[in-house]
């Protein structure tokens, strides 16, 4: 299935829990918890803690991030918060401020 897509005009204030993949292009404030991959598109604003299997940040994320697999911070992405993941990539051009714990 397509999973959950939060379009650019949509604002969700509250908790999101999903067992499938989530693509955020809009605004999310609260908490986001998914069992699948989460993608934060360019232009998205996420002010929430994110827990996901994997996470790709191309937009603006403010909050702690926990991924069971990997976190990719793409160019143009901005992440302010702590990251807890087994694998992490930070692309050239991304902004990041926070701690990193790679379960070492």
């Amino acid at each position: 299935m397509a999973g959950t897509i939060i379009g650019s005009g949509i604002t969700i204030e509250g908790e999101i829990t999903s067992d499938e993949d989530v693509v955020v292009a809009g605004t999310v404030r609260g908490k986001l918890s998914a069992e699948g991959p989460v993608t934060v598109d360019t232009g998205a604003v996420v002010e929430a803690d994110i827990a996901a299997a994997s996470l790709s940040v191309g937009g603006n994320v403010t909050g702690n991030v926990t991924a069971s697999e990997r976190v990719n911070l793409l160019a143009g992405g901005r992440l302010i918060g702590d990251v807890k993941a087994a694998r992490l990539t930070i692309a050239d051009g991304a902004s990041f401020k926070g701690n990193v714990d790679m379960n070492v």
Binding site: G3, I10, G14, I16
Partner: protein, 222 residues
């Protein structure tokens, strides 16, 4: 991408959703949904709060008021407990509804309702709200669907249980002169056992008793 958003089937949102564009809800939302475009509530969806959009199509469950700026359609499979309000409202056969229905500036709902079963659904739905529970057996009797558990005991309780219903029924004739809707609901519940002997019920003045009759029905039905 800017336009259509989807809340997938495995997703639960506890909070409010607002925005422009269209939204397709397949999952659960415990909170209000206000969208400026078209809102589609799929069969697997469950929305527990008010819902508002320019155009709304409901195929799933909504526990809350539904309002639309343009048009509102309940398709077969829709289960709505709450008021509907839109300039144009469509309720397809198979949709379940418990609540008031208001189209723009219309007070004559029985006349506007579309087909035979619908006047029964729309007309108790038109009763000035709160003590509307006693009229529910009329609605449930016409639209047999076991999915909402709340409705299942009611049609089950009324027709087969002639005896438990007897004491309220015995009281019913005494209330008959004052509340013709009482005989209404009684005959509608008979209608479940024997095919309705009087076609679509005549548009009665839904003067539902807020007093003894309502409480008797409540005791008898639940």
């Amino acid at each position: 991408m800017a336009d259509l958003s989807t809340i997938g089937r495995g997703t639960t949102i506890r909070g409010n959703i607002r925005g422009d564009g269209d939204l397709d809800v397949h999952g659960r939302v415990d909170g209000s949904v206000t969208v400026k475009g078209e809102l589609s509530i799929a069969e697997t969806a469950l929305v527990k709060s008010d819902v508002s959009a320019r155009r709304v199509v409901v195929r799933g469950a909504v526990a809350g008021n539904v309002s639309a700026d343009e048009s509102l359609v309940l398709e077969a499979g829709a289960r709505v407990v709450g008021d509907l309000s839109a300039p144009r409202i469509g309720i397809r056969p198979g949709a379940l509804l418990r609540g008031n229905v208001t189209t723009a500036g219309a007070e004559n709902a029985p006349a506007r309702a579309r087909a035979g079963a619908r006047p029964a659904a729309a007309e108790p739905a038109r009763t000035p709200a709160r003590a509307a529970t006693p009229a529910r057996p009329a609605v449930s009797a016409h639209t047999p669907s076991p999915t909402p558990a709340a409705r299942a005991p009611m049609p089950a309780a009324r027709p087969p249980a002639q005896t438990p219903v007897a004491p309220p029924r015995a009281a019913a004739p005494t209330h008959n002169p004052s509340h013709n809707s009482a005989s209404h609901s009684a005959s509608a519940s008979d209608g479940v056992k024997a095919p309705s002997r009087e076609g679509p019920p005549p548009p009665v003045v839904p003067s539902l008793g807020r007093g003894a009759k309502a409480s008797l029905k409540r005791k008898g039905a639940r």
